[in-house]
Structures are given as C-alpha cells and as structure tokens.
C-alpha cells in the first residue's frame, strides 16, 4: 500500500537562473494518490522544513485543462499512454523507485520557475488563424448545416487536444506540428471552416515555424499525447499547406484585377 520513493526534481529560481536537480526522500506514498497529490505532500514537507515548495502548473486535475505536465523519467506525463500528469496515479510505481521530474524542455517554452514553463507560443499560433470567423449573433440555424457524423467525429478527435505541450516536449526537434495540425484539422474538415481554410493553414503554419522547430516525422508526439491525437493531423496539415500555396485567394483576386484593368 505505502511506498518510499526518491524524487529528483528540477529546481530553478527563475527564467535566467541556473537550475539543478534536488533530491528528496518521500516516505509513505499511498498508491491511490495522483502524481500531483504526491508532489503536494512533498511541498507540505518542504514548507515545514522552511524550504520553498516546488512550483508546478496544475488546475483542473481531471486531465482536461492542459495546465499540468512534467517530464517523468524522461517521458512527458510519465509512463502511461493517454493520461496527463494529474491522472497518473502512484499505483504505477513500486516501493524504492527513483523518479526524475523535469519541466518541458523546448526553446519556445522557456522555464519560468522550477517545473513551470511559458507556453504562450501556443496561444500565438491560435491567434494567427486557429478560429472560424463567426461574429456573434449572425449565425443561421445550426441544423441548416448538415455535417456527416463521420466528419464531426474526425473534427472532434482532433479538437480533443488539450494544449498541454507534451508533443513539443517529446519531440527531438521541439516541433509543434501535432498541436498545430490538430487545430487545423478540427477546423478544416468542417463545412464552416472552408471559407478560411487556405488562409488559416498558411498563417498558422508560418506562425508555428517562427517559433518552433521543424517536424522530421519522429512521431514521438503521438506516443505521449494524453488526448490521443494521431499524427494523421500532421499529414492533413501538410497537404493543406501545400495546396494553400496554389489557392491563395488574395493573389487570385489580384490577378483578376490586373486582368480587368488590361
């Protein structure tokens, strides 16, 4: 039931400070605890000893908000398939285990403190075009747009991304193609997403490449994704991106204008 563990945790006082691992002995870990509850217990001990607690991001603790995420023994979100750090339970460890805990490591996700990183680069990708322009109030009846169940399912599969950043942390190139591909797929397969389809993929991919590394198909991202996003979304993104180069509506219109003037 109860385990004694050794934790090696990355501690870093601030963005520019040098970081290092600190080792903590954690007695009496209950197997029903979540990984974050185990960190809570460590933090209570640390505060009791007059040492500053380990900073880590977390919020909903039910695997959906995407706040939490640390690299556990070299793997983002730990050893299980399809779960976030908050949904990893200590019954997956044995008495006497040593666990190494690190923040996401990627140039686009600078460390803020300890295990907390800045993921606002993801927000900037969405801002570049990860939406359907639909001003409030102008929508027609929802049932006027028929969407085959299969299409809705593909969109939903891709839209399940929680934006945690594990894909970037797992990628040897720190690429964000799984995250970006998921959002592009979720919107580009839907009828509502068609008018902005080509502009969307071009803008989002360009913004992504400004900030992240390039994908070379390691597919480590899919292996660690807690939301089960398939690398197929990357293929979809790449195909749409390529097509967008030939379907730039603005340049087509400009050519038409030139033709009119002539």
């Amino acid at each position: 039931m109860s385990m004694n563990l050794t934790l090696k945790v990355w501690r870093q006082a601030g963005a520019t400070a040098a970081g290092d691992f600190e080792t903590y002995q954690v007695p009496g870990v209950n197997e029903d605890m979540s990984f974050l509850e185990m960190l809570d217990v460590v933090n209570e001990q640390l505060i009791g000893d007059g040492r500053e607690p380990i900073a880590f991001d977390h919020d909903c603790r039910e695997g959906i908000c995407g706040s939490c995420g640390v690299v556990i023994n070299g793997r983002p979100h730990g050893p299980l398939q399809g779960v976030t750090t908050c949904q990893l339970h200590m019954r997956n460890y044995r008495d006497g285990d040593t666990i190494v805990v690190e923040p996401w490591r990627a140039a686009a996700f600078p460390v803020i403190r300890d295990l907390v990183v800045d993921r606002s680069a993801f927000d900037r990708i969405i801002q570049a075009g990860g939406y359907i322009t639909a001003p409030t109030g102008g929508a027609r009846d929802a049932n006027l747009t028929l969407i085959p169940k299969a299409v809705a399912d593909v969109a939903m599969d891709a839209a399940a991304c929680i934006g945690c950043g594990a894909c970037v942390a797992a990628c040897p190139n720190s690429a964000a193609n799984l995250f970006t591909g998921a959002k592009i797929t979720a919107l580009n397969v839907l009828p509502q997403g068609q008018p902005e389809r080509w502009a969307r993929v071009a803008a989002m991919v360009d913004r992504m490449e400004d900030q992240f590394g390039s994908c070379t198909n390691y597919t480590e991202c899919e292996a660690v994704c807690p939301a089960g996003i398939s690398v197929n979304v990357i293929a979809k993104m790449n195909r749409d991106y390529l097509k967008s180069r030939f379907k730039d509506r603005r340049s087509l219109i400009r050519q038409a204008d030139v033709a009119d003037e002539a």
Binding site: I47, A55, D123, G137
Partner: protein, 647 residues
C-alpha cells in the same frame, strides 16, 4: 401574482423591464441606449476571467469595437475551468419534437431552481439558448451528430425532454475553445489586450463607480493599476470554500469577494450545489473530487445496499438485496431527478449505513442493465472516456464493476447581486456567469451552467453594457495614477508583505482543509441552526489563527504559488462566515439549501414562500462583523410556486 408580501429593499432595483414576459428582452434591447460604431473604441472595458462568460464577452465586445482588456490567472485563457464541464448545454430547440419550447425550458429552470430565481432573467436565458447553439455551431464546435448530419441531443436531470447538446464527454472543452478562439482572433486584431497569469486583487471605486482594478503579475510579482469605463467580473464560482470540490484547484472567490468588500452585495451565498455523481474520497491527501457526468444517469442505475454495513462485492449482491432508491422514491423521474434531490437521497442512504465500497462512503451507479440492453459497444460510444477516467482514478473497471459515487460540491448558485442588465449595485461593475447569482435560483439544472455562461457573454452583456457606457460618452477613463488607484495598490502591497512576514507554523493548505471541514460538516448538504452558529464562531476563530500563524515562504517578486493561495484562502475564510450567516437566516429549505428543521414528513425540502421568497443580498460591514441584509422580493407572475415534485 404571487401571494408573498415581502417588503423588498427599494434601493435594490432589479430593473426588470415592463411588459409581457416573452416581450421583455426584445423590448429592453430596443430601449437600451446604443453606442455608435465610431465611438466604441473610446470606451475601455475590463473583463476578468476567460471562461465561457468572460471569453465570450471579451470576444463579442472586442468584435463590436470596444477597447477590451482581458485578464486570467491561468497561463492561457483557454484553461479556465469551463473547459472541464462534461455533459452538455441545454437549448430550447425542440429538434427532437418531444414537446420542448422556450416556455418549457423557462418553466423547468424556475421549478428546478425551487422558485428562487427571477422569472424575467430565466425567460431571457431560455430565449437566447437557441442562438447559443447556432453561434457555437457556426464557430465550428464539433457537437455530436446523427448519421444524417443533424445535431444529436441527450436528456439531463430535471427535464422530461431531450434538449441537451453535447460534444462527447467534453462539451465544456469544446465550447470554451470556441470562445477562446473567437477571443484569440480579437487579440490578433488588437481589439482585446490579453493579460495571462494576472490575478485581480482589488476593485477600484471613484465617487461610488467602479473605475478599474488592481492586478498582480503572477510571474514577476508586479502590482499594477488598470482603469476602464466598466469592469466585468466573470470569475466563476466559489465551491472551493469546501476545500474538496469538483472545481479546479485555482478556482477562487477573490475577485468577487474583494468587490464585495468594496460595496458590491453578495446574493444568496448559501445556495451551493452538491453534485450527486462524483468519485468518493479515498484518503486524507485528496486534493480534489472528480465529477462523473450527470449524463451517466441516462443509462446508469443508482442503488445502495439494503443491509447496513454491506461488505460483499456488488456482483455478489442479488437484485432482491439492492435498493434502487431513486427509482423507488421518484418513479416519474427515477434516476434523472435534479441534482439536489439525488444528492440528498444518496446522503440519506449512506448516513443510514447503506453505503457501499470499502469505506461505505458511496452508492453504486450501475451499467449492468444498460450493457445487457444496448451492448458494450453502444455504452462505450456514449461514455467511453468517462469510464476510462473512472478506471484510471480508482483502478476499477466500470464495465464489470459498478461505479461508486458520492455527492461533492460542484457549483455555486449564489454570487454577486446583479440587476437585469447584469450590473451590480456598484455602478459600472458587471458580473457574468457563475460569479453572479442570477438565473438558477436555489438549484441549477444539469447542462444549464454552460448555457448561462454563454448567454451572459455572447448575448446579454453585449446588449446591456453599452447602455451603461452610453451615459459616459465624452468622459475619459479614470487616471490610473490617481489617489484611488495609488491607495488600492498600496493596500495590495501591504497585504503581500503581511503574508510573507507572518512566518507562522501552518501551511496555507492546512487552513484551507480546516475551513473545508467546517463548511462541509455544517454548511454542506444538510444544515441546522446549532451547527451553523457553531461554524460561524469556528470560522471567526480560524480567521484569527490564519492571520497569526500562516506560513508563506519566498518572495513577492517571483512566481510564488503559496502566496497566491494565501490570498485566496484568506478570502474563502471570510466568505465561509457569510455563507453560514445566510444559511442560518434562511429559515426554510429550498433547492441546494436544506435546513434539517424544515422538511416534509418524507424528507423533502419545505419552502416558506410567505417569508422567504426573496433574494438575500448581503452588504459587507467589516472583517469579522455580521453583514447587512437587503431583500429583493421575488414575484411569480407566470409560474405558480408549488412544492417541487419529481414523483
């Protein structure tokens, strides 16, 4: 008209428009002043919180051309706790042709709220519900579909029609992402300036008007002032006052509590919703409780043992020794009774010793019959992700062993008092979503929180807030370096220094747990006068202890999560005292507020409409002091209050 003769406080103007119920909203929209497009950018609007209400309001007001500043404490606006809502969103579309209508949704919500909500607000909510679905579908929210491509619906508690739209078990996530994406578009366009990882720590008033806020940058610790023509708080609910709840760890009352301390009235704080289907607690280290969607009650059957201290496994208990207590007590609604009714029924079974599981602290939610009837594949399609989540947390497989469930704090119907325009009694201060008290009365129906958040954000605020702004045309925003802001900033700095200098012996979480225990035991699912009086005294003592013995390490100039929590727990402690005062004052049972002294012979809530059909709006009088009560009388012109029956 209702039979009640309660004298409301004339100072509390609800501003409900005149005219027939169904015409109030359209009439009001027409008579509200507008701001011309070219003038909108001259108006600065602050919106705190980026859940459904906040993100939808920021996106819509930004799109209309106002200069919006949006604040959230999370690292991204997408992570607000609306994202965790599972089951669905109600709308009176009547796509199923099963008798639904705007009026029926209105009626169900008033009844579900145990006749403690305003008719006009609730009718407006039902009216705009249909537009919400259209809006979200246009944004690309991947709602569940029928094979023919039409939208699918499911049933939820408290209704006899199928009006709940959903996106697998992640409806909140998809609606939140829709609003976040609309917001992101406005951020890129420059109409909205986004402040991630910023926490509001005070509201600033000038000549009685809300003119801005003080925020702390959670990364650098910098404290700064932001001024505006109007401030919107869309900062969610306060169920973390119980420590263990289904809320996210960061959910807190600080923004609305600090506004309350500056003069905004807090309405019906004791109306808290305890959700019937959560995973029971497993140990002291527990940091939160996980909800299992209400949608599971569509196919799951709830039962407990018929023998006290039952220790056999579920599969070993024959049908004759199972008590399907919801089906037994409420044959008409059965497993789909509203949340307050289901929660109390489960508590009663456990209190009487019929609980199941090792700790006898839950009841079963059983899918055996559904799997036999529908097959495992269908059950998997409907609830697969929820079953996986359950298995992952408990180590049990719900396909073969029934789920164990128990009620947990989930939603707070109370919040800051607002008028029909969603403006508080402080001019210029608006409150939206769970943070206000407005639409759910004493109990919220399932799938109605998402509806209200988006109604407020997409449709109500964008129509009512300009009416307030129009009065200020030509008035510049308050000077953020003025004395009001300087003083408020200084007070926030002093508070930060105070937390860091106490250097006591107990951690912030220790205090939060102590508060949670007091609240759960005395102001939870069942309340009585003696317990509430004792709880209030205990909380006043806990407050003293907190301010002399809390231990917060580190500095105010870096990311310091203990410091953030300290401020929030300090506010929860004060709120706890007010909740107990409100619960003690309300000598009746209604919805989520169940006073043991006031029940029918068969244990149902017993309302007292003659004396308590009012909104209790509390005015802050100082730390540790009792608040002042202002009453807004509730009048029922259309739905005649009766004892709620789901039998």
């Amino acid at each position: 008209m209702s039979q009640t003769q309660i004298a409301g406080d004339p100072a509390l103007k609800s501003n409900i428009p005149a005219g027939p119920l169904a015409e109030k909203w359209d009439g009001h929209r027409f008579s509200t002043k507008l701001v011309a497009p070219q003038n909108r950018r001259r108006f600065q609007v602050i919106i705190v919180g980026t859940g459904l209400a906040g993100a939808a309001a920021a996106a819509t007001l930004g799109e209309q051309g106002y200069a919006v500043k949006s604040f959230c404490f999370q690292d991204s606006p997408r992570r607000a706790h609306s994202i965790a809502a599972q089951g669905g969103i109600n709308a009176a579309k009547n796509y199923k042709n099963d008798g639904d209508s705007v009026y029926r949704l209105f009626y169900d919500t008033i009844k579900g709220g145990d006749y403690r909500a305003r008719e006009a607000n609730v009718h407006r909510l039902a009216q705009v519900s249909t537009q919400i679905i259209d809006q979200c579908a246009a944004q690309g929210v991947p709602f569940a579909r029928e094979y023919g491509g039409l939208l699918d619906n499911r049933s939820f508690g408290g209704a006899q029609v199928s009006r709940t739209f959903y996106a697998r078990g992640q409806t909140g996530q998809q609606l939140e992402l829709g609003a976040y994406q609309a917001l992101s578009r406005q951020i890129e366009l420059g109409t909205v300036t986004m402040y991630n990882r910023h926490e509001m720590l005070d509201l600033v008033l000038k000549d009685g008007r809300a003119v801005g806020i003080i925020v702390r940058d959670l990364v650098t610790g910098e404290i700064s002032s932001h001024s505006a023509h109007a401030v919107v708080l869309a900062t969610g609910g306060y169920s973390n006052v119980f420590y263990l709840s289904t809320g996210a760890k960061g959910c807190n009352v600080t923004a609305i509590w600090r506004a309350h301390k500056k003069g905004a009235y807090f309405a019906n704080p004791c109306y808290t919703q305890i959700h019937p289907t959560c995973i029971p607690q497993s140990g002291d280290y527990q940091s939160k409780l996980t909800l299992m969607s209400e949608s599971l009650r569509n196919d799951g059957r709830v039962w407990s043992a018929t023998k006290q201290g039952e220790s056999r496994r579920a599969s070993e208990i024959p049908d004759s020794e199972r008590d399907y207590f919801l089906e037994r007590r409420y044959p008409a609604f059965a497993n789909l009774v509203p949340r307050d009714v289901a929660s109390r029924a489960a508590k009663l079974q456990v209190d009487q010793g019929f609980g199941v599981g090792e700790l006898h602290n839950g009841v079963y939610l059983d899918f055996r019959d559904a799997i036999q009837r529908l097959g495992r594949t269908v059950v998997e399609q409907r609830y697969g992700n929820l079953f996986d989540m359950y298995a992952n947390i408990t180590g049990d497989d719900p396909y073969s062993v029934p789920m164990r469930i128990y009620p947990a704090p989930h939603y707070t119907m109370g919040g800051l008092w607002v008028d029909y325009n969603l403006m508080s009694n402080v001019p210029g201060l608006f409150v939206a979503g769970e943070a206000n008290f407005s639409d759910h009365g004493a109990n919220r129906l399932g799938a109605s929180a998402l509806m209200q958040g988006l109604a407020d954000g997409y449709f109500v605020l964008p129509a009512t807030l300009p009416g307030e702004l129009a009065n200020q045309l030509g008035t510049p925003v308050a000077d953020p370096n003025g004395p009001e802001f300087r003083d408020a900033e200084q007070a926030v700095r002093d508070e930060v220094s105070k937390f860091l200098s106490i250097n006591g012996k107990q951690t912030v979480d220790t205090f939060h747990r102590k508060l949670g225990k007091i609240m759960w035991e005395n102001c939870g699912m069942a309340r009585n006068a003696a317990g509430l009086k004792q709880a209030r005294e205990d909380i006043v003592a806990l407050r003293e202890e907190f301010w002399s013995d809390v231990k917060v390490l580190g500095s105010g100039n870096t990311l310091n999560q203990s410091l953030e929590k300290a401020g929030r727990v300090a506010d929860f402690i004060e709120l706890g005292a007010l909740m107990c005062q409100d619960a003690l004052d309300r000598e009746e049972s209604c919805g989520g507020h169940f006073r043991e002294e006031h029940q029918t012979p068969d244990g149902e809530a017993l309302r007292d409409d003659d004396n308590y059909a009012y909104v209790a709006a509390w005015e802050y009088q100082g730390a540790g002091k009792l608040a002042n009560l202002h009453k807004e009388a509730l009048e029922f012109e259309y739905v005649h209050p009766s004892q709620r029956s789901y039998k």
